[in-house]
């Protein structure tokens, strides 16, 4: 019988598996960091973690609260700066970056700036931070988020961070380097992007979820992969490591 887990644990375990060994990942706090730490303790022991404020390849003793706090360069190979960290991304040495946001559209564009009129917003969010840079520079960007219609929207109120912009060819036309959204892991499914159109595509459904359910929680029409799969559940071992070693204080997995 499958292990018992909450949706945060599920998302983290699923996301972690996409991080290949020997690659680099730029992470923030919370779930992305947990996914990177889990990957390091499972299939990707030599995954290199980079923080935008300058922490390079730390041996994280616990989850950071800020991407610039001491934990992010605890026993790191280098305590660098933002220019050095971001330059590493810009010249093409960072494989994955994790992003978050309030809204996401079919091309993986993200809004983390505001809802409503820009000059006097209904809701003001933090803005880009390093997200726009990561999404512009890194080869594959990943998103972990809960799946809802208010989040997966037809049109973002503001495009803070580039996905594929208006679709195939648009990044190139804008001058962005090759790269773009890779996987979106939600509490319902894993989505990728259609190779031709760059539109969001359901690739794998979580247990007890069907396409209609995912579509009903999405504000635009999703494509469905020809090779639609069923998400592999977290293993007992993954859950044990996540709970006992990665997040023993349940700072992230306790939020679900």
């Amino acid at each position: 019988m499958a292990a018992d887990f909450n949706t945060m644990e599920l998302m983290i375990c699923v996301a972690a598996r996409y991080l290949e060994d020997g690659k680099t990942v730029a992470v923030g706090t919370g779930a992305p960091c947990a996914a990177a730490m889990l990957a390091q303790k499972t299939g990707a022991p030599s995954l290199v973690v980079i923080f935008e404020a300058g922490g390079l390849a730390p041996q994280l003793p616990e989850m950071p609260i800020s991407v610039g706090d001491s934990r992010t360069f605890y026993r790191a190979v280098m305590a660098a700066g933002m220019v050095d960290a971001m330059s590493t991304c810009e010249r093409g040495q960072v494989d994955y970056a994790f992003l978050g946001g309030a809204q996401i559209d079919r091309f993986g564009n993200i809004n983390s700036t505001c809802i409503g009129e820009y000059e006097k917003p209904k809701v003001r969010f933090p803005g880009s931070g390093g997200a726009n840079d990561f999404a512009s520079f890194c080869w594959n960007t990943m998103i972990m988020t809960v799946h809802s219609k208010t989040r997966f929207v037809e049109k973002c109120d503001f495009i803070t961070t580039p996905g594929y912009l208006t679709g195939a060819g648009a990044r190139e036309a804008a001058g962005l380097p090759e790269g773009g959204p890779y996987k979106i892991v939600t509490d319902l499914a894993v989505m990728g992007f259609d190779e031709k159109t760059k539109a969001m595509t359901i690739e794998s459904l979580h247990p007890h979820v069907d396409v209609d359910k995912v579509q009903s929680e999405t504000g635009f029409e999703l494509l469905v992969s020809d090779e639609l799969g069923c998400t592999e559940l977290p293993t007992e071992e993954e859950l044990r490591i996540l709970r006992d070693e990665v997040d023993p204080l349940r700072l992230v997995i306790g939020r679900s």
């Binding site: 610039g68 706090d69 660098a80 700066g81 023993p248």
Partner: protein, 335 residues
């Protein structure tokens, strides 16, 4: 080589490097004693309407004492910028210190959530904003420190962040490819907190530099707050360690625990309980008012503030967390 597109966001500061050169020409390079109080430093170098910037990273190695002093002295109408600004931003919003903002990361405190009061202020329409990415802001400072009028990045392109910035998309004269040009930014004054400095301003920080290398070379005036002031010989004994040379610095202020309630690498972790208290009281403007009266307006020195927050005993607890002898649990979270 053409300008292909341009953001329509406001450009608050003139990117003319010759005007900056004229300023720096007249800035003293004499190695003189620059020690003073935070009160004096703010009085002398931060004027109403000037453009201000903080070093560090939001709640890590931040110049808290300078931010508090800006409130106490009632500074208004400032321009402000930060790559990730969190608790520093929150303090400045509480005093409505700025009304022009180059934003990259604002109103949030990362994993701690969003500041209710900073959001209210940013949603009030009282602040003129340009949006940027963190790296774009760092690139603006870097260009300024290098004495050129713009810097380059391949980010921001194609997004509303670009549209709401004052960046321009330009054609590379060598490759024909599109790059994002960002205008140099010379803040009128910046404040950076460091581990130690001599009285002339030769300063050393440890751990990540964030964008402080760039900021310290770009700021026209620079206030250094420092955990401790050391003899010049300590600096000269190992010049490989120096982060900031004295000729950039205008004021050296000794402020032990000066990043509190933020994190100071190797010395003390952030005080998550006090930061949570900030977030809690911000829900109610009246309660925030009382809180500010108690912790900022009602005290005259940063030392008093630290005392109010638990003083040496609290700092000792935070030291243990910093040294990973105890876990860093965000208040109100955890099992």
């Amino acid at each position: 080589m053409r300008v292909l597109d341009e953001g329509k966001g406001p450009l608050f500061m003139d990117p003319d490097p010759d005007k900056a050169r004229e300023f720096f020409r007249s800035k003293s390079r004499a190695m003189v004693d620059k020690r003073m109080s935070v009160k004096e430093a703010v009085e002398r170098f931060v004027t109403d309407g000037c453009y201000f910037a903080t070093g560090g990273f939001g709640a890590n190695r931040i110049p808290t004492a300078v931010c508090h002093e800006l409130l106490r002295q009632g500074r208004r109408g400032l321009g402000f910028s930060g790559h990730t600004t969190t608790h520093d931003f929150q303090i400045l919003c509480a005093g409505k210190v700025f009304d022009r903002l180059d934003a990259a990361y604002i109103v949030g405190l990362e994993a701690r959530g969003l500041s209710p009061n900073a959001r209210r202020y940013m949603q009030s329409g009282e602040v003129q904003v340009a949006d940027w990415s963190n790296y774009a802001l760092a690139a603006r400072l870097r260009a300024a420190g290098e004495g050129v009028s713009y810097g380059l990045t391949r980010s921001m392109l194609g997004t509303d962040t670009f549209t709401r910035s004052a960046a321009k998309a330009v054609e590379c004269p060598f490759t024909g490819k599109t790059l994002c040009a960002v205008p140099a930014l010379w803040p009128d004054v910046a404040a950076i907190h460091v581990h130690y400095a001599d009285k002339f301003g030769n300063a050393v920080y440890k751990g990540i530099s964030v964008a402080d290398h760039e900021l310290s070379r770009a700021a026209k005036h620079l206030i250094i707050t420092t955990e401790r002031i050391v003899d010049e010989a300590v600096i000269r004994d190992d010049p490989s360690l120096t982060s900031i040379p004295f000729y950039m610095v205008d004021a050296v202020v000794e402020v032990p625990h000066g990043s509190y309630p933020g994190n100071m690498p190797y010395l003390y972790f952030s005080d998550e309980e006090h930061l949570a208290e900030w977030m809690r009281v911000e829900r109610d403007p009246d309660e925030l008012e009382r809180f500010l009266d108690k912790y900022i307006y009602g005290v005259s020195t940063f030392e008093e503030y630290v005392e109010l927050c638990g003083g040496a005993e609290r700092i000792e607890q935070l030291r243990k967390i910093e040294l990973v002898e105890q876990p860093a649990t965000p208040a109100g979270q955890g099992a």
